[in-house]
């Protein structure tokens, strides 16, 4: 099976102290450390496991610049067969639809049976997967937390609010957005990354993919960020300051009151 995983590089939320920049329209990006978006990493692991079961290839693609190669190397070290960097000045400032358009043209250049994305990027809006499927006219399932392959069809399950699960059958080719926790991604150490340090990573631009430049980039973006701020702490947080036992009892009581315990 030919599998494509669309991944992104994001500031690592667990390793950064996120603060606003002076202009107030973005976060302060100096001194940030980045890593592959967590859900995307689960998608790569899932793709590798499917490949190891049924054979085929896993390709990881990302849209970005030179810096983003870092995550492609990591995914190669994890075991992906190839990685592609989709990069062009014309792409910068694209909104979700622009990103989906670029990916659509990339997908049309190849032959993929299955396209996986993470359920959403840490700083994203969970929109690209669905739009990409619509543009390709492929079926789409979101929030997937298990995948089984049965005679050319996929059985995917997703979690429903409240902890129930639903199983859907879906035809190939299709697009799935993958939920974290679907598997246990393997560890990639420094040694693995060094071993793929010289693996070639092709870069494809707008003309390579035949992207309609009028449909992408900042000019085409119809969703624009106008503000970015840290919300003020609101009321409603309740501090428990009793003894450990009292606090434990109180927490139990609160959870039960909200229907969390049956």
């Amino acid at each position: 099976m030919e599998i494509l995983v669309c991944a992104r590089r994001v500031p690592d939320t667990s390793e950064n102290e996120i603060s606003l920049n002076a202009a107030g329209n973005d976060i302060e990006r100096d001194e940030l450390v980045y890593s592959v978006n967590e859900a995307d990493n689960y998608a790569v692991e899932e793709a590798l496991q499917i490949r190891d079961r049924v054979g085929g290839n896993v390709t990881v693609a990302t849209i970005g610049g030179e810096d983003d190669e870092e995550i492609l190397r990591r995914e190669l070290a994890m075991g992906a067969n190839q990685a592609v960097l989709i990069s062009d000045d014309a792409f910068s400032g694209s909104d979700g639809k622009g990103v989906a358009t670029i990916l659509k043209d990339f997908v049309r250049k190849g032959r993929y049976d299955l396209i996986l994305t993470g359920v959403q990027a840490d700083d994203g809006a969970a929109q690209v997967g669905g739009m990409l499927a619509a543009m390709l006219d492929y079926p789409f399932a979101s929030l997937v937390n298990s995948i089984a392959l049965e005679d050319g069809k996929l059985k995917v399950s997703r979690e429903i609010e409240g902890g129930n699960r639903e199983i859907n059958e879906i035809d190939l080719p299709c697009v799935l957005s993958i939920q974290t926790g679907i598997n246990e991604p393997r560890y990639v150490g420094m040694r693995g990354i060094r071993q793929v340090a010289s693996a070639p990573i092709p870069t494809l631009g707008a003309s390579d993919l035949g992207v309609d430049q009028g449909a992408v980039g900042e000019a085409a973006a119809r969703v624009k960020r106008v503000d970015y701020f840290v919300p003020a702490l609101s009321k409603g947080a309740e501090m428990l300051d009793g003894s450990r036992e009292e606090n434990a009892d109180k927490v139990l009581e609160l959870v039960a009151a909200k229907g969390g315990l049956k």
Partner: protein, 571 residues
Amino acid sequence: MVVAAVRRLVFKPARYAVPAKYGKSHTPDAVFLLGLIAILMVADSMFSASNATRHLQQNQPVETLAVFSLPWMLKAAIGAMPLATLWALNVGAYLVHELTFYFLLCYRPFGIQFHVETSLFSVYFAKLERGTLKPVRWGVPDESLDQVKSFGVKTFEDFTWKHMLDFYSCADCGRCADNCPANAVGRPLSPRFITIKARDYAFQHYPVLGKAHNHKPLIGNIYSEDEIWSCTTCGACEEECPLLVEYIDKIVDLRRGMIDDGNVPQSLQKPLKALESRGNPYGKMEKKRGDWAKAIPPGSQPTNAVKLLDGKSGADTLYFVDSITSYDDRMQAIGRATARILECLGKNFGILGATEKDSGHEVRRFGEEMLFMALRDHNTEVIKAAGVQRIVTADPHAYNALKHDYKDVPPVEHIVQVVAREVRDGNVRFNPVEDKDRVYAYHDPCYLGRHNQVYDDPRDVLDSIPGLTRVEMQRSRDRSFCCGGGGLMLFYEPKEDQRMGMLRVRMAAEAGANVIVTACPFCMVNIEDAIKVAGMEGKMSVMDLTELVDRHLVREGTEKTEKLEAATCGG
């Protein structure tokens, strides 16, 4: 022999038992071997007795038989037998002895007593350097590691010959398991069975007759992942083993194999990734690494901010702080106490601040050798650039790393060793103990005690505080009981019935102590947690030796009368 049989069959020490999950009991084999030895003894005695009796009856010179020995008794029993019977007995005993003897010689390599022969060699070749780890591959220098195809031990064949020899040499006595803290709290690890399972595997997969079927992965087959991650590398097993069987090197090699295959628990992946990108397992900002020193409240010691070493500071001593003391709110107090002590002792010292990275001690012991090497190389470079003559640390893990895992760095001491020397030289004195009603017990951190043999210095320092009452826990010094492990072990979520720290806190209570003094920030975390979990707050407390020293140091003009907080430092 009778004693051994009675011990095996009547008393059955608990540690001889083999839980079903680890294989089958060795008692039948033990009894069989004892039987063979019994046959040898009886046949030999019968041979001597029949000889002597025959000579007596024929009026020939008679061999002297020791009174009350088995031959002596047998001689009394067969004295009246006819000569022909004696001859038959004599030849029969001879043949039985020969046959049994040669059978035993051939059988020995397959029985549990083979260790008697192999241990001669395994003890001779035993590793003597404490606190060290074996390299990834003997004879392969660090620069060439990239060419090594596979790291660590993944199949039985990946073990070194010495480690295989260890498997055969283990006497199966169970002392290691009895002392292993992981085993004691019900983690799925017993060092003895690391050996026994490997030995059984070797016999099964390399049969005398038939084809060897080998190269199967060990993890998921004879060892489980949790088993191998459960070890705190405390060294209790190795300390107790009468045959010097090594465990830490084997476990680290198995971990290297798992890391190489990407087989790492999610709970450990985040801190490892953070160590790679930020140089500390918490993912905290590098620039905040030295902030603890700024938090020294005004008016307390030292009044001058701790120097940052940049090569021009003129300081000759580096205080290597390491990650937990730099970033953990509670442990920062250890950093501040250490800085105040060094200041008071008149040391010209400084810290690396933002350029220091984690020592990598646990990174290495968790099998991530390449990441460790990157951390080590970075630290070595900045330490050299700082131009100091010596290093001091208050973290035994950093101490062990700098002392044994790093090369080409200045000599390193733990702060306890520095203070003990100053006490011995009469350079420092202590005020009488603040709280006379408290009873103190010193807990030996594994990487200060067992791995580096620093047992007396901390005790000497404690005993030089006037009026301090100190008791020893039953398990102390080289038998100290690990509190739960440091570094990455704090992130790992083990399967266990209870915490190691809980057992340790109870041991302190049994010894009659109500303050546990330790000399390691990780011990502090584990014991503090355990006190809370055990609900013993108020009855038991824990403090670092540096904090105790800092509170009692006699600084100029502070002797007995003035409050320490307002003191000016005499150094």
